[in-house]
């Protein structure tokens, strides 16, 4: 079974925020890591491949050089091949732009299944996967907590608000967005981490996928005007002191609230 797994290298802001211009963050302020959700979609893809006993798992990322380490980590865990698509014009790309690039790649790869994470931990738009399904005109289910294959069909668990599960049947090819906790993502062994560098990792530009700059610009759903820090002061009244002092104050507050 051939599965395409789009992954994202997310930028986590560590410490003080350093803004560069009006609408971007200084690279130096970011700690890059693989999106939490993507460990689960990758694991699900490898399980389906292994159960089928044939096929490949291709991980793909729209990102700059920092995305390379995330793809390598996926290859070390057991993905077969990686593709990174990048052009500096994609810096800060919105979910519809990313979906457009991934759609061009998916048309070339023609997988039986695309597994995305539900959302990314940095932008948290929750939209890229379903937008991609729309562009490819694929049946899709969002926020999936279980996947089983029955011949050419999939039986999936969809998580609703409040924890209710809707079990759905759909045909393939299809696209699913995978929720955390669906499986137990494997760790890569040291040996596998070394060997990952020998696996194919291709770098492409949107142009090489047949996308013109005009098409990319057209695809963008929004433009970032400004980034600002939220106003402080509306938040919590902070309790200072040693843990014992903090506990004493909390106990007082709790006591008053429970008696009220």
């Amino acid at each position: 079974m051939n599965v395409l797994v789009p992954v994202r290298q997310v930028g986590r802001l560590e410490g003080d925020v350093v803004l560069e211009g009006a609408a971007s963050v200084a690279e130096s302020a970011l700690d890059w890591q693989l999106n939490e959700w993507d460990a689960f979609s990758l694991e699900a893809a490898m399980t389906l491949r292994d159960e089928a006993g044939a096929g490949e798992v291709v991980v793909a990322s729209v990102g700059g050089e920092q995305a390379e380490s995330g793809l390598l980590a996926c290859l070390a865990k057991g993905a077969d091949r990686g593709v990174r698509v990048w052009d500096p014009a994609l810096a800060g790309a919105d979910p519809l732009s990313i979906a457009t690039v991934l759609a061009a790649l998916a048309r070339r790869e023609a997988p039986e299944l695309i597994l995305c994470g539900v959302q990314s931990s940095d932008a948290a738009t929750g939209a890229t996967g379903v937008a991609l399904a729309g562009l490819l005109d694929l049946p899709h289910v969002a926020v999936v907590t279980g996947i089983a294959r029955e011949g050419e069909q999939l039986i999936v668990d969809r998580e609703l608000d409040g924890g209710t599960i809707e079990v759905l049947r759909l045909g393939m090819p299809a696209l699913l967005t995978v929720q955390t906790g669906m499986n137990e993502p494997r760790y890569a062994t040291l040996r596998a981490i070394k060997q990952a560098r020998a696996k194919p990792l291709q770098t492409l530009t949107p142009a090489e996928l047949g996308l013109t700059p005009a098409e990319l610009a057209q695809a963008a759903g929004s433009r970032m005007l400004r980034l600002t820090e939220p106003e402080r002061g509306e938040g919590a009244a902070m309790i200072e002191g040693e843990p014992g002092e903090i506990a004493a104050r909390i106990a007082q507050l709790v006591g008053e609230a429970l008696r009220a």
């Binding site: 379903v130 980034l227 104050r249 909390i250 507050l253």
Partner: protein, 319 residues
């Protein structure tokens, strides 16, 4: 391009509370120049139209669905058809599990302006502007949508005050679309979450733990402390994902919504999905080692400290 189209979600024959928030937001930008407010109800009983016909709504468009329950591809086809027919300037839907299951596909297919998890919006000369979090809610991004005739915004539940249910006098339209055959997934069954050994929605005092508590041993310590100080133990999603606690104890969008007298959050970062399930607690106290944790934006009182040290010291004072 004029007007604001609201997509009203419903479940079990009733309109969801989020729909009234969307109507209020639509009314506000409508008055700023976006134009009249239309509410679309896809599927569900006809009575739903009454619930969304409130002051400020000019038209309610009901689209009958071939299925009784929500199906993403039917909703997608219906919304796509409504937008093509009405050509609204702005489309508002909720940033919810349901809307996220189809609305981004509509935006991508129609080439709309698009933003999700929107917490603020305005309408002016340059059209619509939207605000949302960025970099794990550490920053606020302001977005515009140059060149887009229609902009779709998925708004965060709770970010806008709900419209009051004052009866309106909207035009009622029934829009018959050919939706037979558009479904691409088939419901096999609906599984309610296991009832569990505990009902955290009934507790007055919740001691809630998150990612800061990583292993079973430390969790057991906190379980005992909770018992000693008369609190019920609840948790955020990572502990349920890790199999450390049953889903009956999960607070948040995909778990339970709680409103206890006291919510003591230990080692919980405060992701949006978690906050959706506990922001109505009367007193929220948060302890976290990360001073930047977003939980401090919703908590009434907070402390930057080691949660285990605070919890241990708490036993001396409570219980």
């Amino acid at each position: 391009m004029s007007g604001v189209l609201v997509v009203a979600e419903h479940a079990q024959g009733a309109v969801r509370a989020s729909a009234m928030e969307l109507i209020a937001a639509a009314r506000a930008i409508g008055e700023q120049g976006a134009g009249p407010v239309t509410v679309a109800v896809i599927g569900g009983p006809e009575s739903l139209a009454d619930a969304v016909d409130v002051r400020g709504v000019q038209e309610v468009v009901a689209v009958p669905s071939p299925l009784e329950h929500f199906e993403a591809h039917i909703a997608q086809a219906a919304l796509q058809a409504i937008i093509a027919e009405r050509e609204p300037a702005v489309v508002l839907a909720g940033h919810t599990v349901e809307s996220l299951g189809f609305a981004p596909a509509v935006a991508a297919c129609l080439g709309l302006g698009f933003a999700s998890d929107v917490t603020g919006m305005s309408f002016g000369e340059q059209g619509v502007l939207a605000r949302r979090g960025a970099y794990g809610q550490r920053l606020i991004a302001e977005l515009d949508f140059p060149g887009k005739r229609t902009v779709m915004l998925l708004t965060r539940t709770g970010a806008f005050e709900a419209a009051a249910a004052e009866a309106g006098g909207a035009t009622r339209t029934r829009l018959e679309l050919q939706l037979g055959g558009t479904a691409r997934s088939e419901r096999v069954e609906l599984r309610e979450p296991p009832a569990g050994d505990v009902d955290i929605t009934k507790a007055d005092f919740l001691l809630s733990v998150g990612r800061g508590v990583e292993d079973a041993e430390r969790l057991a310590e906190l379980e005992q402390i909770a018992q000693r100080i008369g609190a019920t133990l609840s948790a955020s999603r990572p502990l349920i994902d890790a199999g450390l606690l049953s889903s009956a104890r999960q607070v948040g969008q995909s778990g339970r919504t709680v409103a206890p007298k006291v919510y003591l959050a230990l080692g919980i970062s405060g992701a949006v999905q978690h906050v959706a399930g506990m922001s109505k607690a009367r007193l929220i106290i948060a302890v976290n080692s990360d001073p930047q944790a977003p939980i401090f934006n919703v908590a009434h009182h907070g402390a930057v400290a080691d949660l285990f040290e605070v919890a241990a010291a708490l036993q001396a004072h409570l219980g």
